[in-house]
């Protein structure tokens, strides 16, 4: 309603003016509540139906069995071990590289056309479809470097996939630290590295961690790039143990082992014609959701622990 004049100062006119504005405010609150309700109900319905469907399968045996052509006996042992190991390699690749690159780009790189170009490319890479990373990995890691269809190839691929996410969130987290605090550190004679290491990195660690977890949550559910590099869909053995009885006690043989991961196992079961396998797929879906949930829970816990150290 277009008004040419301010409302009259009489109590009743003021009341009409205010209640109209309050109405708009309240209607947005109702709209928001409604949207949240719809989203929650849909999500909950999905998870609950998955859970109900998969419940008969959620036994200890399901976790400790290899896949089988008999749906009753089939389990996810190879898949969850594979997922865990691939995620481990992904973490080792993506976290140090991503955080270091983010720090360099945000704090050290001079602001010129080159850094602008890199920034655009990194942001763009975060949105590239994962299958493209799969193709790159197939050509480069698998063929050129000869790493084969191994856990190492998968970890490198997923690490590359989430690297841009880690870089971008690291930069944003560092940028959010007020310049007053940077100047305070510099004014005391801190070098650039001391300023970063003693101050802005710890202060922004919680946000950086969030970015890492978002990346990891994405990586744990990825299927396409891993199928592209040649992950198995049916596997009946585990990678060699990383711990040995004899010297040097640690073995890296598992890096070269073939593997499968949870989403591939699930996809494999879904595409089977037998109805019984749908139950297995649902159960694997529930486990995958809980794995992601556990990852997020861990992040929240770490962030909480860390914020206690930082005394805002």
């Amino acid at each position: 309603m277009a008004q040419a004049e301010l409302p009259q100062k009489g109590m009743t006119q003021l009341h009409a003016n205010v209640s109209q504005r309050q109405l708009i405010s309240a209607s947005f609150a109702i709209l928001g509540l409604l949207v949240i309700f719809i989203v929650l109900v849909v999500l909950l319905a999905l998870v609950v139906s998955l859970f109900i469907q998969g419940a008969p399968c959620l036994t200890w045996q399901f976790f400790t069995s290899f896949p089988s052509s008999n749906p009753e006996e089939a389990g996810i042992l190879a898949a969850w071990v594979g997922s865990l190991l691939v995620m481990l390699v992904t973490m080792i690749i993506a976290i140090p590289l991503g955080v270091a690159a983010g720090i360099y780009l945000e704090e050290y790189a001079s602001q010129n056309w080159l850094s602008a170009l890199i920034e655009i490319n990194v942001t763009n890479l975060a949105g590239v479809p994962s299958i493209v990373y799969g193709l790159l990995a197939l050509g480069f890691f698998n063929q050129t470097l000869g790493l084969g269809e191994s856990i190492l190839t998968a970890g490198l691929t997923l690490g590359l996939l989430i690297l841009p996410i880690v870089i971008v969130t690291t930069r944003e987290a560092l940028r959010a630290i007020p310049s007053l605090l940077r100047e305070a550190a510099y004014a005391l004679g801190a070098s650039k590295w001391q300023m970063i290491w003693d101050h802005i990195l710890p202060y922004s660690f919680g946000s950086i961690l969030t970015g890492i977890i978002i990346g990891m949550s994405r990586a744990i559910g990825e299927t396409a790039p891993l199928i592209t590099i040649g992950a198995l869909t049916f596997i009946a053995f585990l990678p060699p143990s990383p711990i040995q009885a004899e010297f040097p006690f640690i073995s890296l043989e598992w890096l070269k082992a073939p593997f499968t991961v949870m989403p591939i196992q699930m996809f494999n079961w879904v595409s089977r014609p037998e109805q019984e396998f749908q139950v297995n797929a649902a159960a694997a879906g529930v486990i995958l959701i809980f794995m992601t949930l556990a990852l997020n829970g861990l992040a929240i816990y770490l962030r909480y622990r860390f914020r206690k150290g930082i005394k805002w």
Binding site: S110, L181, A184, Y186, A187, L188, A190, D198, Y203, W312
Partner: protein, 266 residues
């Protein structure tokens, strides 16, 4: 009325300067000529105030003393700031060396989100002091020096953010004096504080000049008059007048200074 004009002229040979500014020019981003040919002295163990209307360049001048402008690209200095006959603006001088000798207290209290103890200890740690007892001693000294010790001695491990605004600013002063600097720069240290906290900071500045040389930017003429021994009046990037505070306020040489200190503009 016969006025003795010569008594109004600053007798510079009577001053023992801690630092001296000679023909200082400063350019923001290489283009904005923010400081024009500044010449002044910072007398040792005195409080020197920089006053002038907003945008006159007083904070810019202050931040030349600890090379804060080096943090942002494109800024350029001309001329000299001498500290013990060394030009601290020289490219060969690392800004970090300068900041180890000239510390700063900012306009708004900006303690680190760490404990009270760690805030004060940080400057010492940066400079490589690690011996626990030595750090403890210097922290206590600095907190006593900033009149905060009695209020915080039982909660040194609490967050600095649990302190009030005035206490936070005194903590920042403790942080700035812990490393025994030659000069402490104050950039409008009380503009974010209430009158009582302001008074305690002012008392503190008065105490501190026994130990260190103080350069303070203030927008409050009363504060400059109360606190400082010498005052520089700046206007549009130039230093119009530099003299003993009593002379600058009572018998200014320039009409503009007169107008500003009598509250006619600014």
């Amino acid at each position: 009325m016969v006025e003795d004009v010569s008594s109004r002229i600053l007798n510079s040979s009577a001053i023992s300067p801690k630092a001296e500014v000679r023909n200082l020019d400063f350019y923001y981003g290489g283009t904005v000529h923010a400081l024009k040919n500044i010449n002044m002295m910072v007398p040792e163990h005195k409080v020197t105030a920089l006053i002038g209307p907003s945008g006159c360049g007083k904070t810019t001048l202050l931040r030349c003393f600890n090379r804060m402008h080096d943090l942002y690209s494109g800024n350029r200095y001309g001329g000299e700031v001498l500290l013990d006959d060394i030009n601290i603006l020289d490219k060969k001088v690392d800004p970090i060396e300068v900041r180890m000798r000239i510390s700063m207290v900012f306009q708004r209290p900006n303690p680190f989100p760490k404990s009270i103890f760690e805030n004060v200890a940080y400057g010492l740690r940066v400079q490589g002091l690690t011996k626990r007892s030595a750090v403890d001693e210097k922290v206590e000294q600095a907190l006593k020096g900033s009149a905060l010790w009695d209020e915080v001695k039982d909660r040194l491990n609490d967050s600095a953010y649990t302190l009030s605004g005035g206490q936070q600013q005194r903590l920042c002063i403790a942080r700035a004096i812990a490393t025994n600097p030659d000069i402490v720069l104050f950039d409008e240290p009380t503009s974010a504080l209430d009158p009582i906290a302001t008074a305690s900071i002012e008392d503190l500045v008065n105490e501190l000049k026994q130990q260190v040389t103080i350069l303070i930017v203030t927008h409050s003429m009363q504060q400059a008059a109360r606190l400082s021994d010498y005052t520089a009046f700046m206007y549009l990037g130039e230093l119009l007048e530099f003299n003993q505070t009593t002379i600058l306020f009572n018998q200014p040489a320039h009409k503009r200074t007169q107008d500003y200190v009598s509250g006619r503009f600014g």
